[in-house]
């Protein structure tokens, strides 16, 4: 008999149980594919380029990974909750432009502008969530609408007020030095300038992982994404959970928009457009299911890391960076297909 007595109950044997085993247990982890992907990509570029391995190289590829990572984690939570937010990319632009216009054009204190942008972002997130919840329509369509509206507003309002497509002068506003230190400064480690956004990114990943795995809210997020009707039947506040997730995503967009605006001190009216798909790519590479109910924050972070390493690595090994998107797409397909088969294999092993 292939039966193996289980650790938990050595007194009782069940002929249906074949030991699940550590390897298969590991395979059902959503972030497994991303861990392997990260190792492979790092090994690949590190072996080809010295600069990629150096401290300044690391700082260089962690930089794009960090701002993407903040959003990827928020978007992953939303996707685990079973929804999409296509307006998340353009919302970083909306936040940046709001801060830029309030400081540069109206002369506000930077901190008040940041606060106003936060209120605006959270309101948009709330509206996205509320509209999805009340209409029962796919969030894909609802947020596609928000995406287009924000895109139009960003351009329209910017042109109306500044007569250009660029907002400038954030650095001349009161309160700028401290705000920049918190959201957009660099820290020197081993002779390389590391962006402070990396800290934000790591902190957010830790918090999101904790919320997902160790709080009631985390249990609810998995449940509303897995089957929101069943979740409602056992008393999970599904509507509130989903609205909170949309607001988390727009909160992430606020953080990233603020970081970018304070770093560049000027904001383009088309900032962030198209990024929403990159966030989803990072979350999916990190093991999130498009159908919801499955995924991880660590995985999404690693997805962002893969993105950062590839985008800079291609430059370091001297390839034409025009090919970057091609690699990204291929990696997405590879990740989705391998995640799919690994999961099927792992689940079959239970039966």
């Amino acid at each position: 008999m292939t039966t193996v007595a289980r650790r938990e109950r050595p007194d009782k044997q069940d002929e249906r149980v074949v030991d699940v085993g550590t390897v298969r247990r590991l395979l059902v982890r959503p972030e497994l594919g991303a861990i392997i992907g990260t190792a492979v990509i790092f090994g690949f570029f590190a072996s080809l380029s010295d600069v990629f391995r150096s401290a300044s190289g690391v700082a260089n590829w962690l930089d794009p990974a960090s701002t993407l990572g903040v959003m990827a984690v928020a978007v992953a939570l939303l996707m685990i909750g079973g929804e999409f937010d296509l307006s998340s990319g353009v919302m970083t632009g909306t936040v940046g432009l709001t801060i830029g216009l309030l400081t540069g054009h109206f002369g506000w204190n930077v901190w008040f502008a940041i606060l106003a942008a936060l209120v605006l972002a959270l309101s948009i997130g709330f509206l996205n969530g509320y509209a999805t919840e009340r209409t029962g329509l796919p969030s894909f369509i609802i947020t596609l609408g928000t995406f287009l509206m924000l895109q139009g507003l960003n351009l329209g309002v910017t042109k109306l007020l500044t007569h250009t497509v660029l907002v400038e002068g954030i650095n001349r506003a009161p309160g700028f030095p401290l705000a920049q230190r918190i959201f957009a400064s660099t820290v020197e480690i081993a002779g390389a300038e590391f962006r402070i956004t990396i800290l934000w990114w790591i902190a957010l990943t830790v918090v999101a992982t904790y919320v997902l795995l160790r709080t009631r809210a985390g249990n609810w997020i998995f449940a509303v994404g897995g089957d929101s009707r069943s979740a409602r039947n056992v008393g999970v506040p599904a509507g509130r959970t989903k609205i909170a997730l949309f607001m988390t995503t727009s909160g992430g967009a606020w953080l990233v928009g603020t970081m970018v605006a304070l770093r560049l001190t000027s904001v383009q009216a088309n900032q962030g457009i198209g990024d929403e798909l990159i966030y989803i790519v990072a979350a999916v590479i990190g093991g999130c299911l498009l159908t919801g109910g499955f995924g991880s924050a660590v995985g999404a972070s690693l997805g962002a890391l893969i993105f950062g390493m590839t985008s800079q690595g291609i430059v370091y090994v001297g390839w034409d960076s025009d090919w970057f998107k091609f690699f990204l797409g291929a990696m997405l397909l590879l990740a989705v297909v391998s995640n799919h088969f690994v999961r099927r294999y792992a689940e079959r092993s239970h039966k």
Partner: protein
């Protein structure tokens, strides 16, 4: 159960008195009455469209009755939301079981009622406690849980029913409503679920067992309510009805005889045709 017989409480756990429900001009349920006592199983039988689902939804607080009412321990109750019914100790195990296939068994077990530890912003889901309780509760119900971290989607239909029943029992249900728990199962699996129903009953819970299968209902039931097209065909104690009578009543009694007659005659007729 015999211990209860010594001191029968003055009021049954649940009494349903002349309940009616309309949807517009459609009569979904009319004049239905029955009782459920603690430690007993009341079976609600009926064919498709008999009003079983409406009956469950009235009891679980999803709908409100248009006429008649419910009495718990002899006191009238009015549920306007499912949560009120749950707070009154009525737990409904719906056909779709309200479980999330991709989530681990222990996460499903506590979904919506997670135990927490800690304080303020550090209040967190007590996962060790949840895992341990889920494992223990299922073990007590005699459910042979292989791995509490296993996703519910990998369990068989009977196992899922059993986990749902164990969950309801653990969360202090006094009255368990089971919506066709055996209908989609094979003979052996159905037997397993019936055994868990008996376990719940022996723990002193009142059970309402909804089914269209009199062969599942009769062995375990103490009381039988038969519905047909929204009306009650009768509410019997086990001593008042035999298994055969129940089957006949359930299948529409006279209708079934007519059907048998019709089928029989057509056979005779084809026989006559063959002989000529």
């Amino acid at each position: 159960m015999s211990a209860d017989a010594d001191a029968v409480p003055a009021h049954p756990l649940l009494e349903v008195r002349d309940v009616c429900k309309y949807f517009g001009s459609v009569l979904a349920l009319s004049g239905v009455s029955t009782t459920v006592r603690a430690g007993e199983v009341t079976c609600v039988l009926g064919d498709n469209g008999a009003g079983k689902s409406t009956f469950i939804k009235l009891l679980s607080g999803v709908y409100m009755p248009d006429e008649g009412g419910f009495f718990i321990d002899g006191r009238p109750v009015h549920f306007t939301t499912p949560r009120q019914a749950r707070n009154a100790g009525i737990a409904t195990v719906f056909q779709d079981l309200a479980m999330i296939p991709l989530m681990a068994i222990w996460r499903n077990f506590f979904l919506g009622s997670e135990p927490t530890k800690g304080w303020g912003p550090f209040k967190r889901f007590d996962v060790d406690k949840a895992r341990e309780i889920a494992r223990k509760q299922l073990h007590e119900m005699g459910i042979d849980l292989r791995d509490p971290d296993q996703p519910v989607g990998t369990l068989s239909g009977g196992e899922r029913q059993s986990v749902a029943i164990a969950r309801a029992v653990y969360f202090g249900a006094r009255l368990l409503i089971l919506d066709e728990p055996t209908s989609a199962l094979g003979v052996k699996q159905a037997g397993v679920v019936l055994r868990y129903i008996a376990q719940a009953r022996d723990k002193g819970l009142g059970v309402i067992f909804i089914t269209h299968n009199p062969h599942h209902a009769y062995p375990i039931g103490d009381r039988f309510l038969v519905l047909n097209r929204g009306r009650s065909l009768g509410d019997f104690a086990k001593s008042e009805i035999t298994s055969d009578e129940l089957t006949r009543l359930m299948a529409g009694g006279a209708e079934l005889e007519e059907l048998a007659h019709e089928l029989g005659r057509s056979v005779v007729r084809s026989g006559e045709l063959a002989s000529t």
